[in-house]
Symmetry: C2
Subunit: 189 residues, 2 copies
Amino acid sequence: MDNRFHSFIGGDTGPWRTVALQAVSGPGLEMPPRLDVQNANVLTPPAGARWVLRGVTSHGRYTTRAEQDVLAAVQPPLGRPEATCAALIPITKNAAWWALTQDERRELFAAGAVHTRAARDYLPAIARRLHHGRDLGEPFDFLTWFEYAPGDATAFDDLLGVLRGTEEWRYVEREVDIRLVRDAVPRES
Amino acid sequence: MDNRFHSFIGGDTGPWRTVALQAVSGPGLEMPPRLDVQNANVLTPPAGARWVLRGVTSHGRYTTRAEQDVLAAVQPPLGRPEATCAALIPITKNAAWWALTQDERRELFAAGAVHTRAARDYLPAIARRLHHGRDLGEPFDFLTWFEYAPGDATAFDDLLGVLRGTEEWRYVEREVDIRLVRDAVPRES
């Protein structure tokens, strides 16, 4: 397959410098000085790594065609030169969530359609990529990676607040909030 | 996690003897004399292995609560002493399938509700377990394992015929059909 694996390596190297790490629910993680993101399935932690979190990008599990079309229209790509702030939010949902059937899980998302409205309101400023870890046997079910410009940091905090207030988030039993910055990439002139 | 990995090892050992292997769509697989099924993530093929196919059991992706309740009521467990016949059906779906959104894929399943009706009609005789391989980077997206008694072999062929006639099956670009038998396990007396 085209490589859908991504590994987040907390250690001494990488373009992203860790500025904060908060254990929101459940056990946290050691705060590493830097973070490297590799488009690979890194099974052996490199020297200096405090931890490696792995996940795969995959097809949408809940999004409808109408919602997907909205998202695709507003979602910026990763790697924008001005997006020098990033957040990695690893979460794990509890057994009650995974015992729900598809219609029950979808109903929780649809209640208020908060995700889609939040995405429409905030996504023009905030790029994101979702990675699935649960079926790999990883400690976190999901790793979401966000990138935004320093001026949009407040909007990002608002978005997280909306997500954490959803019905769905009541099933989150472990959550870590990792904030990072990198040097600006100069635009080509 | 509790180990949801399962590895199907085609080789010289294992309780299941291969009686037929058919490439239904796309490339087939070498027919091994025997098959071993391990509840483990076997990354290194053991000596004599022709191939190792891996997958994880996971939560239902499409089944509603109502459908799940019907399935749970009729579905027999794996490992019944009389179920000395088995089939392993690895399939891969094409890119068009994976580009569909959740509601579009679900619509294809719901059209006729063939899966649930087929399950209700055939599942009392046929045990089955679905394994997901796509997000592991495996060559097959799904591995379905079936067990049934010799007297239910015709019912199993009927079930497969129903599944292969569904709208959803038009997205299958690779399918291998492997049939196996084992010695009867004597019931404890």
